[in-house]
Symmetry: C2
Subunit: 223 residues, 2 copies
DNA sequence: TTGCATACTACCCGAGTGGGTAGTAATGGA
DNA sequence: TCCATTACTACCCACTCGGGTAGTATGCAA
């Protein structure tokens, strides 16, 4: 927690957005909030990275499409200078590529600009309170990442329960022998299932199989 | 979309919760909403699975800790009978294990019971509109799943840029030869980096390396 | 200049892995 | 009853992978 509930000093918020109209509108809106102080607003990441304000920022609202460095490229640079900063993307891009690039880089929230009720102040407070503000559709796509792909739909690659168990062990880097041991099978039995897996997944090595299985969410990603 | 915006017929909502007081409270609350119809309320998953109501349910609010089958175990069974159902967990369990078990199984929302402002009706509407209702802390933990672990903190396992690139290719199931080709190295050069990786990650096979790298979010999980 | 670390290239060798093939016990129809 | 499928066990063989070891070019620092 950068600020706790008893801390009455306003949150130091920074905006990076190249559209001047939008940016000034947001600054104006946020200035009405007593618990939020706009410490700076910039039209490019380079300006933010060069500013001393970065080193006191609590929350950074970041556009993606910007002149010069993109917002996503800037995230690691920002976090290396100010690790405790809370970065919330505010963007027009609703596609998975930008979304996952941003959160993998370290963004904590992701708001779509044209969303009907874009509540910047609310999102800032939610993020500071330990949440992750997201537009509803964005939240759904993040959750969908974990969902099994088409497991409850007409199944094509009918992996048996045993196949799946072997696949899970493969994903944990176990050798044939190790898998045989825990599954009470001979090494040949393990190979039997692995051959089934390779054929059904259309691959020809353990690495490819694990990659494909993760892709299709056939095995649970490590938690 | 199970119901579109023009559809004025109420949403068919089902509750599974073993605490009678809580359940009846929720039923009463939801009955006040004109766009929501409580089609059934049950104290166990077995009851729901045996009920014909399941086959017309739009949204299912599901507790985790229940007599008999747990809510999480019930998810695949429910979805195999009613794939279009939207499942929202309503539970006391805030730990990662239950959370990720639930969303990996197919839950679309995850609400913590004792949350200060538990808005069931709002959550139901958000889920039906294509969102994923989550308590703020839950959302943060889902997002944290994608965040690099301690990459911006004192780094111990100093993997070089080249090491990381090799690691990424390993994660995609590529062979030494294939990696050598795309990185313009000899196979020996690839082996050099892989040895570095194994030593720094304290592992001794490609499988373990990939598992460990995913665990530490050193490489991006597949999208 | 020497010394040292980094980023490779290179060879040997044994264990692990994958493809081909075949045999067997159990199960379930037709 | 016969036939087919499933779930193994089993052997052969070539290739990949991982550990040990060593050589080399580059750069950096004392």
């Amino acid at each position: 927690m950068v600020k706790d509930e008893l801390d009455r000093s306003p949150l130091s918020v920074v905006l990076v957005e190249d559209n001047r109209i939008l940016r000034e509108g947001w600054v104006t809106t946020l200035k009405l909030e007593p618990d939020i102080a706009v410490a700076g607003d910039y039209s490019s990441c380079e300006q933010l990275l060069a500013s001393p304000v970065l080193h006191v920022a609590d929350v950074i609202l970041l556009d993606i499409e910007l002149p010069g460095k993109s917002g996503i490229e800037a995230i690691p640079l920002i976090l290396s200078l100010r690790p405790q900063a809370i970065i919330i993307m505010v963007t027009m891009h609703e596609d998975d590529q930008h979304l996952f690039d941003a959160i993998c880089a370290g963004a904590i929230g992701y708001l779509v600009k044209m969303s009907s009720a874009l509540d910047l102040a609310g999102a800032i407070r939610e993020a500071v309170a330990g949440g992750s503000p997201m537009t509803p559709n964005v939240a759904r796509r993040v959750i969908d990442y974990f969902h099994p792909k088409s497991r409850y739909l007409p199944r094509q690659n009918e992996l048996s329960e045993q196949d799946l168990e072997v696949l899970n062990h493969l994903g944990q880097g176990k050798s044939y022998a190790a898998i045989a041991k825990v599954m009470f099978l001979s090494v040949h039995g393990v190979r039997y299932h692995i051959r089934q897996i390779y054929e059904k997944l259309q691959v020809s090595s353990r690495g490819e199989a694990v990659a494909e299985a993760l892709e299709q969410r056939l095995i649970r990603p490590p938690t």
